[in-house]
Subunit: 200 residues, 2 copies
């Protein structure tokens, strides 16, 4: 399995960011650090799952792993808490200007996001259109709606623009997604129901 090196293997061109020096994962980690330091939200990236095969126990000070392999994550990369709510999401980049290929995300990860929403959590994808320098938050319900009603293997940019939220990009925090969660929480609170109901 080549999971964390997929980018290296499938895309030999270096990725150039228009006005940022980092990739989406770094930006989100920095954003989460800001939210944590300011006691706004507690959201962490989960460690990459690694299957350890051989360990050198002789080195007592710092156990050395001599053979290990990357595993496919069971869930998404990020989760945590904001205003008492369970938050769960994954962050994906695409160089396409016209659509987000669903091949970027594992089917079991989409099932996980849908399950979280059904249990009353807030789940979504953060999708970065690298070439356009636009980052969107798309709630799981709209991903599910798209998949349920389309044969296409990629979500068109226009669909994401219509149903998602364009995220503000700053220096610190980099990607302002928490303010959008306020919108989402208020939206479902106003409807008086749980956030399992679809709202347009």
């Amino acid at each position: 399995m080549n999971y964390p090196n997929k980018k290296v293997v499938s895309n030999s061109k270096p990725i150039i960011y228009s006005n940022r020096g980092m990739n989406l994962e770094d930006d989100i980690n920095i954003t989460n650090k800001y939210y944590l330091e300011n006691d706004i939200a507690i959201i962490y990236k989960k460690p990459t799952p690694i299957k350890v095969v051989k360990v050198d126990y002789n080195n007592r000070i710092n156990t050395k792993i001599k053979e290990a392999y990357y595993e496919i994550p069971s869930t998404t990369d990020y989760n945590g808490i904001y205003k008492g709510k369970y938050i769960d999401f994954d962050a994906k980049e695409t160089r396409s200007k016209t659509s987000f290929p669903l091949s970027n995300i594992h089917a079991h990860q989409i099932r996980h996001l849908i399950s979280v929403e059904r249990h009353g959590g807030i789940s979504f994808l953060i999708i970065s259109f690298v070439v356009l320098n636009e980052v969107y938050l798309l709630e799981t319900r709209y991903i599910k709606e798209f998949i349920d009603n389309n044969e296409r293997k990629s979500i068109p940019y226009e669909y994401i623009k219509t149903h998602g939220y364009l995220l503000r990009q700053n220096y610190y925090p980099r990607i302002e997604y928490i303010e959008i969660l306020d919108n989402i929480i208020n939206k479902y609170n106003k409807k008086g129901g749980s956030n399992n109901e679809k709202v347009n």
Copy 2:
């Protein structure tokens, strides 16, 4: 750092479980699997954080990690969602019959649990007294209360018995902690406040 091998280094005697063949972590993983399969709760163990130093890119089928080291986790081992609530906990074993040594948990992990509770989540420790074959759920507020009011570096068994919940042990699920979360949610709902208020 020797973190995941601490047990091996500090305790050379094999751990014998009175009527179970597995350790606490396995039991909780199996319990979480039960909750997941029955769509009761979505709770996962986070992967152990590992710092990868050398990778063999030649093996295209299955990238081999040739040098890596265990890192101290930033947070706790388990988190997820139950009835819309953010759940966060760690699980610890002790062979002591009289107390739970606080050295079993990192100070920053306790701070994390306290922070989660302040943000409206449900956080706790699952403490297994291996020799007694008793497993308790102790809410973070009582851990904090103990630390704030005591110089002792271990929480007495009697304190845990008084303020914690004894968990039922079965074959599947192994450690029934979700039914206790119902108690906790109801307790704070009845009080009409957020679950940040201490209830005795």
